[in-house]
């Protein structure tokens, strides 16, 4: 009998709740060199036939199925035993399938609280399956109200991306999106190390007056090495080196600040809404090597 057929059968079916169940896997296209096998083929065959007669539940290949299992395991380390509900304090937009796992666009929308509802004071981004799941915490400037923020993050494998908003009453509210991506944390850096050093800390501040909304964008050049990327030359892992804190202020007033880790993409970029008042915008950032980068921009943008 065909050895290729036997291997395809062996790999198409796997243990499931009903014994052997259907499983979406790519077919084995490699041929075997040797047909001998002492596996009980009769038993295998009989189980397969039996499972075919049963109703085949739709099953996903490993890792494709959205699951809260990892979240349940890591939540205590991030939020202790605080209750988290799903009240819609903030919303999250993320692509269902990321084009580039090292640059996954994330949009956060915080609406003006209705009536006397407590305002959101901070939001935390978590990617369950990342080696470093806590992506960043953004603390809003005083005054609450409507705030939109977009940035780019690394997603290492198919995972829930979660946004946990903390309102002024201390309560936590969560929303989530499932993102299909792989390898974001270990993707090689876009710039080579020499380029990255040369541009280190350079910033840009752009104002988008034509969108009809008061939006601006802050960009800072930094490799944000995750520590999981392999240096193509030395063949060793490039040590982690990333922006840890970043604060954007207009005049003396803080617009927002970020506390971030290795899951924030190279050249951290933040697009946000704000109420321009003509004052200069200042950005202060610190990285894990103790470097401090500070730059002020005129209200209408600059670099």
């Amino acid at each position: 009998m065909s050895s290729t057929l036997r291997s395809r059968i062996l790999e198409r079916f796997s243990e499931g709740p009903m014994g052997l169940s259907f499983k979406k896997t790519r077919q084995n296209k490699k041929s075997e060199k040797n047909c001998d096998s002492r596996i009980s083929q009769s038993a295998l065959c009989a189980s397969v036939l039996a499972s075919m007669l049963a109703v085949a539940a739709p099953a996903y290949a490993d890792g494709d199925t959205p699951s809260d299992a990892t979240w349940t395991a890591i939540k205590p380390a991030i939020f202790g035993d605080k209750a988290i509900d799903d009240a819609a304090a903030a919303t999250l937009d993320a692509p269902a399938r990321a084009e580039d796992a090292a640059l996954v666009p994330i949009d956060i929308h915080i609406a003006r609280p209705a009536g006397g509802a407590p305002a959101v004071k901070a939001v935390t981004l978590v990617v369950d399956e990342n080696p470093s799941p806590q992506v960043a915490t953004f603390t809003l400037g005083e005054g609450g109200g409507k705030f939109d923020l977009s940035t780019r993050i690394r997603v290492n494998s198919y995972s829930y991306v979660r946004l946990i908003a903390e309102t002024s009453d201390g309560k936590l509210h969560m929303t989530k999106a499932f993102v299909k991506a792989a390898g974001g944390c270990s993707a090689p850096a876009v710039k080579d190390p020499a380029e990255a050093k040369a541009d280190l800390g350079k910033m840009r501040f752009r104002v988008f007056a034509d969108t009809g909304r008061n939006e601006a964008q802050v960009q800072i050049h930094h490799p944000n090495y995750s520590g999981l990327q392999m240096d193509q030359v030395t063949r060793l892992y490039t040590p982690a080196w990333f922006i840890q804190t970043l604060t954007v202020s207009q005049g003396a007033k803080v617009l927002f600040s970020m506390n971030g880790g290795i899951s924030v993409s190279e050249d951290p970029t933040f697009r946000f809404t704000y109420a321009p008042n003509g004052e200069a915008v200042t950005v202060v950032a610190k990285d894990t090597q103790g470097n401090v980068f500070k730059q002020s921009f005129p209200a209408d943008g600059g670099s």
């Binding site: 036997r6 395809r8 296209k29 490699k30 041929s31 083929q41 999981l228 063949r235 892992y237």
Partner: protein, 183 residues
């Protein structure tokens, strides 16, 4: 005979042809090692080594006497992470009894990685170049191909390459084990 009847029934049920004819998608063997883009379709062969599928790998596993080596990469927890950063390092599941030598499947190895590979191969074989070694990682991953090729280059004479690796083993519901990397 019972087996043949059973499989014929299955084949009919799936409307599968008795002999599969695939368009040849497997790439040719490169002259040297695969240097990047490791997660991609692999060749059908590794010159100098025996390629095996899951049933044959299971035979070899049951017969014992072969060292199974998992070469799946494992980036270490960065030393520079700020204290208190939550770090997820999920347990590594592999073929039962296999030795895990992470990162030795890269196309080019740093000196320290190469020393690690050579030292562990010597330990695992007791210095016997005739001791059979079986390399694997995951399906469609060049790392086990590279590692097998490199072991051949070191003079180990009996190399097996289990190209479907953990994916094939797990799909066959065969014995798995959680392991730590070898020091």
């Amino acid at each position: 005979m019972r087996r043949r009847a059973c499989l014929a029934l299955l084949a009919a049920a799936f409307a599968l042809p008795a002999v599969e004819v695939w368009a040849d998608e497997a790439p040719a063997e490169p002259g040297g090692y695969r240097l990047d883009n490791y997660k991609a379709p692999t060749p059908r062969t590794l010159r100098g080594a025996t390629v095996v599928g899951t049933p044959r790998a299971y035979d070899l596993w049951q017969a014992k006497g072969i060292v199974f080596i998992d070469v799946l990469p494992h980036p270490p927890k960065p030393a520079d992470l700020p204290a208190g950063t939550l770090w997820r390092d999920p347990p590594h599941e592999t073929i039962g009894g296999a030795a895990w030598l992470p990162n030795v499947g890269q196309g080019a190895l740093a000196a320290t990685t190469e020393d690690y590979f050579k030292r562990n191969l010597a330990d695992l074989t007791g210095g016997d170049r005739d001791k059979p070694l079986l390399f694997f990682c995951r399906r469609d991953c060049w790392m086990s191909w590279n590692a097998g090729k490199r072991a051949l280059g070191y003079g180990y004479r009996h190399i097996y390459w289990y190209s479907d690796g953990v994916d094939g083993w797990k799909a066959g519901a065969l014995p798995m084990e959680t392991v730590q990397p070898r020091p």
